[in-house]
């Protein structure tokens, strides 16, 4: 099987890799670049857990060959926060974003870090924290990327437009209500 040398930008950093023809972008991100924020839920283009931005547009990274991303600009969930460890270069790659316990708004007393100052969360991340749009978190990276992409192309989406834009992101936990609320808040 042929190997291909590729160069691409991932979260603002230039990366070079040699990849076999059959490696997906998802596998390259997770296993070569150790950016494990992007999840593999189905490897069939159905669940959206693997969603990343490719040249500004969301794609299922399990449905893209790594070699096809040659020359492309990729943003993963690790690249959403404005001063994430990866971007600041303090931590090794693949360290996922810090766990931030959000204010649930219902009187829970877990320690609250708004995250805003320390990590420069993107507005959409902050909204997911504020409104508890996260339970197990497996769908969250894909949800955040799809939502970010929606807000980039349509800054004030209606509820129907939000649901439509997220229809390729399955969540088995939240029941979606809080996710839709969070996107509204971030809009």
């Amino acid at each position: 099987m042929s190997q291909h040398s590729i160069t691409l930008t991932v979260n603002g950093t230039t990366e070079r890799a040699t990849v076999p023809s059959n490696m997906t972008l998802l596998t390259m991100l997770r296993e070569v670049l150790v950016l494990t924020g992007t999840k593999n839920g189905c490897a069939a283009g159905e669940c959206g857990a693997c969603t990343v931005l490719l040249n500004g547009e969301p794609v299922n990274s399990c449905m893209v060959l790594a070699v096809e991303a040659d020359g492309a600009e990729i943003v993963t969930v690790e690249g959403l926060a404005h001063s994430a460890p990866d971007k600041a270069g303090e931590a090794g790659r693949g360290h996922t974003s810090p766990v931030t316990t959000g204010e649930t708004g219902r009187g829970h007393t877990s320690p609250v870090t708004t995250g805003e100052d320390r990590w420069g969360l993107d507005a959409i991340q902050q909204a997911f924290v504020d409104l508890t749009g996260v339970q197990c978190g497996f769908c969250t990276p894909g949800m955040l990327i799809s939502a970010r992409a929606l807000l980039d192309r349509n800054p004030h989406p209606s509820e129907a437009e939000i649901k439509d834009a997220l229809r390729g992101n399955l969540c088995r936990c939240t029941g979606y209500t809080r996710i839709v609320e969070a996107v509204k808040q971030a809009a």
Binding site: N22, M23, T24, N60, R167, G168
Partner: protein, 297 residues
Amino acid sequence: MLPTPGLPSFDYIQPASPADVTKMLLKHDGDARLFMGGTDVFVRMRDGFITPKFLIDVKRLPGMTAIKFTKRAGLTIGAGASMNAIARHPAVVEHYPILAQAIDSVASYQLRTRATMGGNLCNASPAADTAPAAIVLGANLVLYGRRGERVVPAEKFFLAPGKTALKPGEFLLRIEISPLPKGAVGKYMKLGRNAHGDLAIVGVAVLGYPDKRAKSGYAFRIALASVAPTPIRSPQAESVLMSSPITPEVIARAATAAMETAQPISDVRSSAEYRRAMVKTLTRRALEAVVDLMHGT
């Protein structure tokens, strides 16, 4: 158990020219496959249904992702243009909204960043959402092969499930859609198992336009997805609508005629009986919507 992320081995090929593609296809008969967005090919490879040795990425050939529109020539869509790029193209939104409706009914936004109309047509699934739209829009498919280019109307392109008019060595270069008759309006209606993005149980495309030669004053084109071995047109329903003034009763008769054109099977998505009944319902609704639009209500 975690899904396997890996695809079986193959060589990824970026061809230099259309002639290159044809050469490869002929040389590696059966072992070489084209792909555009890969959203269908990759899944079928992963599931072991196909095992190509070579995957030819044709979307980087010159012009393959271009979308062009002029008032005189109409719309030209490169076979590798993404569904999202097509559905958001200003000319499509303005002049061919039925195409955007069909595309928006496919899967999810992020999948449509990759999925192409060219791939959707060439896979020749009976359920392909863009096929009935292409048929009622009178789309022409420009194919490239050993003898250069040739044109096949969308209506003649589909031969059987997964089978098209493409000959060995041939592939789709672009889709051409002429300017529509004056006053034409269209509607694509789809029923899936859920409201969003599922494969069609039934898909119905209707295009209507004023036509002095028709007794009703209007001509219609009606095409159906997912209810026959290929996407099909329903000439019976169309002629009902040509021959008498458009009333609710005539619309109902046309919907019944469309139902009678359908030869559906029962599968995991629906029984044949349900499909037939839904062809009637969706055709009626699509016709009502088109008639309303034509009357400007």
